[in-house]
């Protein structure tokens, strides 16, 4: 089956981003196709490459980066949600007169239309939420 995975959980404030990682690995292992991973709301923090974890702890953005690269998955970070939260690439920071970047290499910034399009083309959409 074709899946769209929606990550809305802050990777520190909530467990949801880690649950989504495990779910995605299990779906791939079962032979399913991941159409797109879409990071929205606080989930965009899951795509911040500047997140640093002590050696004995899991670094969620590094794990997403690895999983996405290894399986060449399509990963989109909601641009409106991300730029407001400081998850940005050089193009965006320059546009706002700042410098620097924080987005993981394996994901791209784009609009909510990318979530709608993937959802419509998928058999299943599974959302991993955080705390509200």
């Amino acid at each position: 089956m074709k899946f769209t995975i929606v990550v809305q959980a802050d990777p520190l404030a909530s467990q949801g981003s880690e649950t989504a990682l495990r779910f995605t690995r299990a779906a791939l292992a079962a032979g399913h196709q991941i159409m797109r991973i879409f990071f929205y709301s606080e989930g965009v923090h899951s795509a911040n490459r500047l997140a640093l974890a002590p050696q004995d702890e899991a670094c969620v953005p590094d794990q997403w980066q690895q999983l996405i690269s290894e399986h060449q998955l399509d990963a989109v970070v909601c641009i409106a949600a991300a730029v407001r939260r400081g998850v940005v690439n050089e193009t965006e920071t320059r546009r706002y007169g700042k410098t620097g970047s924080s987005l993981i290499d394996s994901a791209e910034l784009s609009g909510l239309g990318q979530l709608i399009a993937a959802s419509v083309d998928s058999d299943r959409v599974v959302t991993f939420g955080g705390h509200r």
């Binding site: 089956m1 899946f3 809305q8 959980a9 909530s14 467990q15 949801g16 649950t19 495990r22 779910f23 690995r25 299990a26 779906a27 292992a29 079962a30 399913h32 299943r124 959409v125 599974v126 959302t127 991993f128 939420g129 955080g130 705390h131 509200r132």
Partner: protein, 97 residues
């Protein structure tokens, strides 16, 4: 295949209104999967509230129950592969958080 929704719930008993909205939304053919802090609903103190849900089956994510020291013989555990299977066997998933 009959039309069924898989509901997931990731918050514990202090999120009572979340549980209430989920209870309103769940249908007799639907299933519920307790994940993350949601597994605390599987403890004995909340057995009556779970029994009051007008749904088909209730599951809990095993890794989350183990992490929290929750032992519940009444609620069927599933692993990550089982979670994926449940999303396949239900037409849609609704995540409560």
């Amino acid at each position: 295949m009959s039309d069924r929704t898989l509901h997931t719930l990731n918050r514990g008993p202090q999120s009572l209104s979340l549980f209430g909205s989920m209870r309103d939304a769940i249908s007799p053919r639907d299933s519920l999967l307790l994940i993350e802090d949601g597994v605390y609903w599987a403890t004995a103190a909340y057995a009556e509230m779970l029994a009051g849900l007008n749904c088909d089956k209730i599951y809990q994510l095993a890794a989350d129950a183990d992490a929290r020291g929750i032992q519940s013989d009444r609620i069927e555990p599933v692993d990550d592969a089982g979670f994926v299977s449940l999303t396949v066997s239900h037409q849609r998933t609704l995540s409560w958080f």
